[in-house]
């Protein structure tokens, strides 16, 4: 789909370039909200430990705020409807879909994205394991897969390979790297279990 055909993206760009003035889409009807609805509002987001002050419309999702406003483009937009997991980030350590989270609703929480997992040059164990096990092909789903796996480990419900497959099912990989993703996650889980029995 060309960007201009995507209504959400089109709104978003209009919202930003027009200083947030709602340039209504299509014909105005009496059901349309009054023109001053939805003005940009100030909000403070904590992303990867840093406080970021933003002035954006309430309708901007966390995913769009990360990518288009803060230029943290690691989190990916696959479907924009909760159906693929490419946008997975952690809020207060819990994995969520940033495409269905309003940025303003995330204010006050600690947001962690793929950019916040490594410690300097030292990769997060899951990042290293994904490379070692060749757990991706095009890489588009990978940031979401890794953030999801961080959440999965914190939840602590996945023991067997079958559990990992089920509890990673919120992340679709259209390249079909699933077997290697399961292997990467299991290796890091088993290492962590050895270190903290």
């Amino acid at each position: 789909m060309a960007p201009s055909d995507d209504p959400d993206r089109r709104d978003f760009i209009q919202g930003v370039t027009a200083g947030g003035l709602a340039l209504g889409l299509g014909a105005a009807t009496s059901a349309d909200p009054p023109a001053d609805v939805g003005q940009p509002i100030p909000m403070k987001l904590t992303i990867n430990g840093q406080d970021r002050e933003l002035q954006i419309e309430p309708r901007v999702t966390l995913l769009d705020a990360l990518r288009e406003v803060l230029h943290l483009t690691g989190s990916k937009k696959g479907c924009d409807h909760g159906q693929c997991g490419a946008c997975t980030v952690l809020i207060d350590g819990r994995r969520v879909n940033s495409c269905l989270t309003l940025a303003v609703a995330a204010a006050g929480g600690q947001v962690t994205t793929i950019e916040g997992l490594a410690k300097g040059e030292e990769l997060h164990p899951l990042q290293a394991a994904f490379i070692k096990h060749d757990a991706f092909q095009c890489g588009y789903c990978t940031p979401g897969q890794i953030c999801s796996a961080v959440g999965l480990m914190a939840e602590g419900h996945a023991k067997s390979d079958a559990d990992v497959r089920e509890l990673m099912s919120g992340n679709i990989c259209r390249c079909g790297a699933y077997p290697n993703i399961v292997a990467a996650v299991q290796e890091v889980q088993q290492l962590a279990a050895k270190e903290n029995p």
């Binding site: 059901a31 309430p58 269905l100 919120g170």
Partner: protein, 328 residues
């Protein structure tokens, strides 16, 4: 999404006032249903009142039963120790729904209020009596493989998509609310409405009425309960058919039975006739098959969804067999 204002409610009463004051305002829970539909222009609201941080977020288990706060996240409820041991069907239903990420976001209140996945409703422009009253129903003669066979009308055949609600339907749940007319409790069977000729009215709630909790009475024999979901792929998919069942078996005879179906009804579908048919019977494959037949007795298929009728019968029978095999 069309533009909207956002406020975080200070408390349940303030939230009710804020939504009541604007006819097109809505409560925001986890956002997994509402934001999705607003992006599709299937819903438009000019104010979202965020209730997701209100302290209605506890699971209180006592001997008398369990009170589940409306803001308890689907994942937290599914893994709650009292739910897993006392109401396995509820835990299983929740874990069969959506994805781990969505379950971390989705609230109990939002799940009860979730809307149909009918593609003509979601596309924001087809004829759809649910989205635009009196505009027609594109599904009646359209692609209706996913649609309902029970509780349908000439005006709407949309399936109620929730898994959680199918489990609640067999557990004598009550929904607690606070609204413009004060507090009240609604028996779960009366919470969702049949489409009739007003499919746009889906629940018993008034505009601005807030779900605060769901109560479950103690049901000792619900330890022998099970949820079975059949779908097009193994995970992260809505039900084609599903069954929530519970059995009380003593001395090799069924004393009480509970059966509800998902994926086939316009609301979470309790099958009271099928339950009655089991009482006094031995838990045999024949009795379970007969219960499946009874549950689907009133089913009306459309062009593409007739397969759901035999599938749902077998889903009921298999769920009952699995429950019968549980330690109880």
């Amino acid at each position: 999404m069309t533009p909207f204002d956002y406020v975080r409610a200070d408390g349940p009463d303030a939230a009710v006032k804020q939504v009541v004051a604007r006819p097109t305002a809505a409560f925001l829970g986890g956002g997994t249903g509402l934001i999705d539909l607003m992006k599709l222009y299937a819903e438009r609201h000019d104010l979202l009142v965020d209730v997701s941080r209100l302290p209605m977020d506890k699971v209180e288990a006592t001997e008398k039963g369990v009170r589940i706060g409306a803001n308890v996240r689907n994942s937290d409820l599914a893994y709650h120790a009292a739910i897993r041991t006392r109401f396995p069907v509820l835990s299983e239903a929740l874990l069969s729904g959506a994805s781990p990420q969505l379950r971390n976001m989705a609230t109990v209140g939002g799940n009860l209020m979730q809307r149909t996945r009918c593609p003509y409703f979601r596309d924001g422009h087809s004829a759809c009596n649910k989205r635009v009253p009196k505009s027609g129903c594109a599904a009646l003669d359209g692609v209706n493989r996913g649609h309902a066979v029970l509780g349908t009308s000439d005006h709407c055949i949309a399936t109620h998509p929730s898994d959680l609600c199918v489990a609640l339907a067999i557990l004598d749940a009550t929904v607690r609310t606070t609204g413009p007319k004060g507090e009240r409790t609604i028996p779960f069977a009366d919470f969702h409405r049949l489409p009739g000729d007003t499919p746009d009215r889906e629940t018993a709630l008034d505009h601005g009425e807030l779900i605060t909790a769901v109560d479950l009475p103690a049901l000792p024999w619900a330890t022998r309960s099970h949820y079975l979901k059949v779908r097009d792929r193994a995970s992260y998919e809505f039900a084609l058919t599903s069954a929530a069942v519970a059995l009380e078996i003593a001395d090799g005879v069924i004393k009480q039975a509970r059966i509800a179906l998902g994926g086939v009804g316009t609301k979470p579908w309790r099958a009271a006739e099928a339950e009655k048919a089991l009482v006094g019977k031995k838990p045999t494959p024949e009795a379970f098959a007969a219960a499946g037949d009874a549950a689907l007795a009133g089913a009306v298929p459309r062009q593409h969804n007739a397969f759901k009728i035999p599938l749902a019968k077998r889903t009921v029978a298999r769920a009952l067999a699995a429950a019968a095999a549980m330690p109880g």
